[in-house]
């Protein structure tokens, strides 16, 4: 009898103590996220879309990542390997990660170096269609030295070795789950790709692609007191304005992502008092992509390719310089972006170390001077007010994606360029088509069948080496490479390629910065790109949501384990 009651008491105590431990994790109940572009897959290696990599970042984690200031922070490892602490070899060909002991997957099994090795094999498998392959450039081998140590060996000295396993777009997959999904089988593993097991604070309970994702707190998460929320719903669909309204005015959702709408509207909605608008600046720049090749439809398949020849007038630096000079970037930033935009003349405006000061004169609009420059260069106004020279009329087709802010920018730019005696025709393409990358559509940004295109681009992490490589000759989209590559202006310059090459062999940070600045200046001064606005990310959060540290260098949900609700 006594034994029985003692046992019962023991069980009761045990239950209570378990409950107490659980009470902390998930104490804040339910979190509602709204991503108006719905995630379609939860395996970031099979998707380049930010919506997908962000959604999966609640489940999967990398070894290290960037915080909101762009600083590397250790995540699943004890420290960031450097040359000083011996983690990076002196010849810069290897990096050794030391994993934090005691980590578990969301099914309770142990997280080991084998999983890391497997992830590298998964992404580097040639038939797997890995979208994050660039993270693994120049990787020779990845070996597990023991259960908790991983060594990455590069084929050549890698001055910036923080590519593989760093950032939300290069997380670790579980070997046990994905072992049959390597190579050509990767896209067919729907069950795995829709519900990956991870080390992150949440695990998938249900996922309807392109619609809604529901998650619950991961019971094996390393910090017993986290995450603060027990369950999460990530709803997709709708548009940016509706998403902003849902957080700021109606309070239906706690967090909404990517709210590129008119700032005056956003301010109006914020008066609803349910939430607030938050911004963070990365390196995103809204820029014009000047077409340096000829987009004339008469050229057929050679349209907008190097083979089709140079552009009739945009290769004249005087023309591109005056185009840039006629733009009032301050107005563009104010009208389109409000607090989330700053005028810029650089393609690479951040981090501060990489920011060039050589182009800042473009910040001041000077239409008379631009007119003077065109006059001097022999571009004279005809009877219709449009300038021409040797039979070439300055008539520009200016194309971008359908988006209220971009159409405003187009209208403003057109009004300024018209004052220069340049004819401007505006065209906008549905975003799903423009950014869709379909080979058969003539309207994608890569095909660039226009004189000037406009969109935003940026890079993840804080090192611009790969990003600056985008404008080397090899990166020019053309029919031969299925229109892949980010060199949209078709800028091909041997000096630029040499600088890019040199950067990949330079280790000293200051020297790397100097190279990046030189490359930035070359792009801007040769008129390949006309940078407009340094854009911040805009999101909205409910007023009672705590712990949000908005991050432009990584996933916005990078620290979701710390989020909670103020009482």
């Amino acid at each position: 009898m006594t034994l029985k009651s003692t046992l019962l008491a023991a069980v009761a105590v045990a239950t209570i103590s378990v409950m107490a431990a659980r009470a902390e994790r998930g104490a804040d109940g339910h979190l509602n996220l709204l991503y108006w572009q719905a995630p379609s897959i939860l395996n970031p290696f099979l998707s380049g879309g930010i919506k997908d990599t962000e959604a999966s970042s609640m489940i999967l984690e990398p070894l290290a990542r960037h915080d909101e200031n762009g600083q590397l922070v250790p995540w699943l490892v004890r420290e960031i390997p450097t040359v000083e602490n011996g983690g990076v070899s002196a010849d810069m060909t290897t990096i050794t990660w030391r994993i934090t002991p005691g980590l578990k997957w969301s099914d309770g099994t142990k997280f080991t170096a084998d999983d890391v090795v497997f992830t590298a094999k998964y992404c580097m498998s040639p038939e797997g269609g890995c979208q994050q392959e660039s993270k693994f450039f120049d990787v020779k081998t990845v070996d597990a030295l023991d259960d908790l140590t991983v060594k990455v060996t590069f084929e050549k000295p890698k001055p910036y070795p923080y590519g593989p396993f760093v950032g939300h777009d290069s997380p670790i997959l579980q070997k046990e789950q994905f072992k049959n999904c390597v190579g050509a089988a990767a896209p067919n593993c729907t069950a795995e790709n829709f519900a990956p097991r991870g080390t992150g604070p949440f695990r998938v309970t249900d996922f309807k692609a392109n619609d809604v994702l529901t998650l619950e707190a991961n019971p094996f998460y390393r910090d017993p007191g986290k995450p603060g929320f027990a369950t999460v719903t990530l709803k997709g669909g709708g548009d940016a304005a509706g998403a902003a309204r849902a957080v700021l005015q109606t309070g239906e959702f706690d967090y909404a992502w990517n709210l590129q709408i008119d700032p005056s509207l956003l301010a109006e909605m914020a008066k609803g008092g349910k939430g607030e608008v938050i911004t963070a600046f990365g390196a995103a720049v809204e820029r014009m992509q000047v077409n340096l090749t000829n987009p004339d439809p008469a050229l057929g398949p050679d349209r907008s390719t190097l083979k089709g020849g140079a552009h009739p007038f945009l290769t004249d630096p005087i023309v591109t310089k005056s185009l840039s000079m006629a733009i009032d970037r301050t107005v563009l930033a104010e009208v389109g972006y409000g607090a989330a935009g700053k005028p810029t003349c650089n393609v690479l405006p951040a981090p501060a170390l990489y920011r060039s000061a050589a182009n800042d004169d473009c910040l001041i609009q000077d239409i008379p001077k631009a007119n003077q420059m065109l006059d001097d260069a022999g571009w004279l106004r005809g009877s219709d007010g449009i300038r021409s020279k040797d039979g070439v009329r300055l008539s520009i087709l200016f194309q971008t994606s359908t988006n209220a802010v971009r159409q405003d920018t187009q209208a403003l730019v057109k009004s300024w360029w018209t004052k220069l005696g340049i004819e401007v025709e505006l065209k906008n393409v549905a975003p799903a088509v423009y950014f869709g990358g379909s080979q058969s559509s003539p309207d994608t940004y890569q095909k660039h069948y226009a004189d000037i295109g406009m969109f935003t681009n940026t890079f993840t992490g804080s090192d611009p080496e790969t990003y600056m490589k985008n404008w080397t000759c090899a990166q020019i989209p053309a029919p031969e490479n299925n229109w892949l590559g980010f060199n949209i202006p078709r800028f091909c310059n041997a000096d630029y390629d040499a600088l890019a090459d040199k950067m990949s062999q330079t280790a000293v940070l200051e020297d790397r910065a100097a190279l990046a600045i030189a490359m930035n200046d070359m792009l801007v001064q040769n008129g390949a790109l006309i940078p407009l606005v340094h854009r911040g990310d805009v999101s909205a959060r409910a007023k009672n949501l705590t712990g949000v540290r908005m991050n432009s260098w990584d996933s916005e949900l990078w620290n979701i384990a710390d989020w909670g609700r103020a009482q």
Binding site: D262, L265, N428
Partner: protein
Amino acid sequence: MRKASPLAHRSRPHHVWARFRRHKMAYLGLWFLLLVTILTLLGPMIWTLDPTTLDIAAKHQGPSLRHPMGTDQLGRDLFAAMMIGGRTSLMVGFMAMFLSLVLGTCVGMIAAVFKPLDGPLMRLTDLFLALPMLPLLLVVIMLWRDSLRTAFGPESGVFILVVCVISITSWMQTARIVRGEVLALKEREFILAAISLGAGPRHLIWQHILPNVLSPIFVSATLGFASAILTESALSFLGLGFPSDFPTWGRLLFDGTNYMTLTPARVIWPGLALSLTVLSVNYIGDGLRDAMDPRADTQ
């Protein structure tokens, strides 16, 4: 049939007009449509503000003497944009209506009069009816926008494309109605009489059949006009169709929806113009049908 009521002293058009005037809503609608048409044609000459002139300092303004309908997010005058935009919208409506009417009447008439062609033509009509409109429009616009743009310039190129596309996808109703009416007419005594007197098909169509199917044609024309305006606005609403700085009512409505809470005038005016125009055109069709109904003579 044209001389069906020998007691009528007035000519038929006169007669129809007299009866049309008795339909109050149709009469009102006609005046409204006239007013809108005159306003869009002559208005921009009096109200000389250019709808594309930007004035950032005057953005998001409510109605004032300077801007009777307020301004948009870039300080463009909404009143000027409404008039210029109405011009395009009405033009698209009239042109597309006219084209689809001609096409539909021809197909319906030929199918009904020439028996061997009836089957193939009606199956063609069914085929077009079965095509999903919007996706088809998207594909057509994507395929031909560039070539038309280079041939006719950005605005007229898109205008031609939009008008053609709308009329090609909206003639089927007219064709079916006309065919049905003509088939019924063919069995009437006066037609049989004309045939037995030796009338050829051309004479038969022009002198006897066409005048008698005019009223359903007019009615379907008004409906077609309304749906053409709406289709154009749907295209603009989707960001297709005309360039973004080229106002049409549909585009103004589309741009305005985002600012609905800030400046409601931006959706109210284009929305009102669209719905009232479409409504009045529908009433006109209604009135015309009543007025042209031959049986009304014998009341």
